[in-house]
Symmetry: C2
Subunit: 455 residues, 2 copies
């Protein structure tokens, strides 16, 4: 049977599907302010049940997770679809051209808080299941859903939830639609994230600031302590000198290099976007440094007097904040220990404070399911997808790849300019409809993969 | 004729001399707020004229200088006495036990703004001239006075004034009483100061802060730029690597070393005073590092986010404030040029801003006039003076030693706990009277030096 039927149904049901999305968008679900969360979860479960998905509301230490499943055959191929039903607060309200919780279409875009992030994308997944069922009578695979209510609060309780429910969530693939797609309009497929280790270093000199004349050369300056430490940790080319820092980094495969080189890159546009005219690298280098190499970044440093003019003191304290982006398979805990051991050896009186961490994660571009999804998304869009082996930023993708041991693929359905977290958040009507279509194609191709007995 | 008469007169006239000091202390002269400056200058000139000193009010770009002279013989030995008639603002007023401009004696101390800094010491000089004249009928040497009204504003216009009036101020020695004496109670003789060069360094990355995940490894971090620069400027032992930095430093003489070793030093007391229990050096080393060696101090550094928690950014800008203490005969302009040349070579995109400078200055401990003053002050106090080859801090002493080419000696008359610049500023009654006596002895010994034909 062909997917032409799917396209027909989506076109026919456009108004009905938009109205279903609007219903969800009208329901506030602001996690940080605990507004409308339970109401939204109930509404969503009702819709899911209407499609034939069995649902459960599962409590966490924070807002509840909606679990759903449609099981064809317990031995069949299973995909786990992740999404989140909570949204950012809508402030500043006076910058919205239409009210954030009254979805409005202008210029073929749906404007509402959560339109892009993530209700529009989440609804595209659900409506794809409905469409597929109506077109084909049944799903070719099992689908499980996990929709959390705390993504806008850094998914604080999700890792523990995943750990505790790993049996329930056992599947063959995790599939997520979140974030904006590429500004070229080509579909984007993301295969991983960089991790991050956040630290604070505190160096001390005397117990209080001293006069730099009357005490100069007598009390130690904590700024020099930090600088003397850092020259043992990083060479002048930026290479990290902490023993074992690079130990567990996965080699960049030929396939990865090919994908990085193929990513669209316009130097002038990027230079303008980041405010750095000195940018001098080709696209392959740019994406490799951005996604496949760790960073060693100082995001804040402070000591002494920093106002107008000069205050002639020897500061008593100096503080550095760092965020170190990690790439697969560096482990934040391991890197933190190596960092601390280095400091203990070189400057034992400098304090190191752990400020948070997220593990890196990557699914191989050569994984057979990645190839299936690339093909499905490409056919749905009738365009060759951009495949990015990793994002530069950090998300808890390791929950899927490490905790559950599954391949994880992210395919953003929202438009590049979705304005997530900002006033006038939106999703293009066509992006929403293409999202439904994409999921149908993915379900179909995964079914074929299952049928072929490759699993 | 003996100095016994001087002692008698000072004892007899104690109340009269205190009343004369009180008259000056009652007259406000707050330079930064321009309160009572001219009135105080007029009052002071009146007193000086009363003693027989010829005076002139000489304008500067700021508050006027009072010039005075008592010339015995234009070819005789001449001493130039420096002091300042302006005072700090009295705030915070509610911490004063008696009003700042109503001099009050408690515990044998005179409490008033300016009692120690510098009116009490300045009046001791003038009343010494009066006492000496009444005891001996005439002075054995010429005395010139220069009392400025902007010392509490960093003597902003004095260097230019000295330069313009170098002929008028031509003498054989500059003699200053300012600051607190040693807490042992022994008289203190200071022969120099460290200079200071104040700088600001500004390093830039991108035009604005970028996300450390989405842009990490792509835009340069200005904190690393500064750290990479500093590792070429200073080794991990604190030695400055800028070419020629140490070029013009005078060798430390045996006499200097002897004086530094002889200075009273109580490690535990100093450690407590500076809040640094780790202090681990003997007195000779302490004073050498503090007074005879330059510093390379960062007094402030700032970049990125420095509040609670972490903000994952690559900062666009990093700033360092430095104050580099210099020792004789380093020249701030020369050091500034060497600093800039180094930066230009190593990190040409880092901006260096000149923030001010004072030259170092030193009068040799072996200078014959230094020996005369040591002897005079020692006899007046009946105690061996502490001779400190240099202060750790910076004052424009170079005006005398470089601009006028004269030896310059500072003998503080105020007590150690004079609380200058603070509420309840004071001078001990005995310190005030000993100040008068000290100047009489200095005049007398300089007269003998003149008589001996050594000049």
């Amino acid at each position: 049977m062909s997917l032409a039927k799917v396209n027909e149904l989506i076109a026919e049901r456009k108004e009905q599907y938009l109205e279903q999305l609007f219903t969800i968008l009208r329901q506030k679900s602001i996690s940080t302010q605990n507004i409308g969360i339970r109401e939204c979860a109930d509404l969503l479960r009702e819709m899911m049940e209407g499609i034939g998905i069995k649902t459960r509301l599962m409590e966490t230490k924070g807002h509840p997770v909606i679990y759903g499943e449609m099981i064809k055959d317990k031995d069949a191929f299973s995909v786990l679809i992740y999404g989140h039903y909570d949204v950012q607060p809508p402030d500043p309200l006076d910058e919205w051209l239409s009210p954030p919780f009254e979805p409005t279409i202008r210029n073929n875009k749906i404007y509402a808080r959560g339109a892009g992030d993530n209700k529009g994308q989440l609804m595209a997944q659900l409506l794809a299941v409905k469409t597929y069922l109506d077109a084909f009578g049944e799903l070719p695979i099992n689908i499980k859903f996990i929709f959390e209510g705390e993504e806008e609060q850094s998914s604080a309780n999700l890792p523990a939830f995943i750990q505790e429910n790993s049996e329930l969530l056992k599947t063959d693939l995790v599939y997520t639609s979140d974030g904006p797609s590429h500004d070229s309009g080509r579909p984007l497929i993301l295969l991983g994230v960089r991790g991050v280790l956040k630290l604070e270093l505190i160096a001390k000199g005397a117990d209080w600031d001293n006069h730099s004349g009357n005490k100069g050369n007598i009390v130690p300056n904590p700024v020099w302590k930090l600088m003397d430490l850092f020259r043992t940790m990083r060479d002048e080319h930026g290479r990290v000198l902490i023993e074992g820092f690079y130990d567990h980094i996965l080699p960049i495969s030929e396939k990865d290099t090919q994908l990085l080189n193929e990513m669209p890159f316009d130097r002038d546009q990027v230079a303008k976007l980041i405010g750095y005219e000195g940018l001098n690298m080709d696209g392959g280098t740019y994406y490799r440094k951005l996604t496949m190499e760790p960073t060693f970044n100082i995001c804040g440093i402070h000591s002494g007097y920093t106002g107008e003019g000069t205050k002639t003191i020897i500061p008593s304290k100096a503080t550095v904040k760092m965020d170190i982006r990690l790439v697969a398979d560096q482990d934040p805990q391991d890197i933190f220990e190596k960092f601390c051991n280095h400091v203990k050896k070189v400057a034992p009186d400098i304090e190191v404070k752990f400020m948070g961490a997220v593990s890196p994660s990557r699914t191989s571009a050569e994984h057979e399911l990645v190839q299936v999804v690339i093909k499905a998304v490409g056919e749905a869009h009738e365009q060759i997808p951009i495949v990015q082996p990793s994002m530069g930023g950090s998300l808890p993708d390791y929950m899927w790849t490490k905790t559950l041991g599954l391949p994880s693929i992210v395919v953003p359905y929202a438009n590049f300019d979705e304005a997530n977290h900002s006033p006038n958040e939106n999703i293009g009507v066509d992006y929403f409809l293409n999202g439904i279509k994409s999921t149908c194609h993915v379900i179909h191709k995964l079914g074929a993969f299952h049928q072929s007995g490759q699993r």
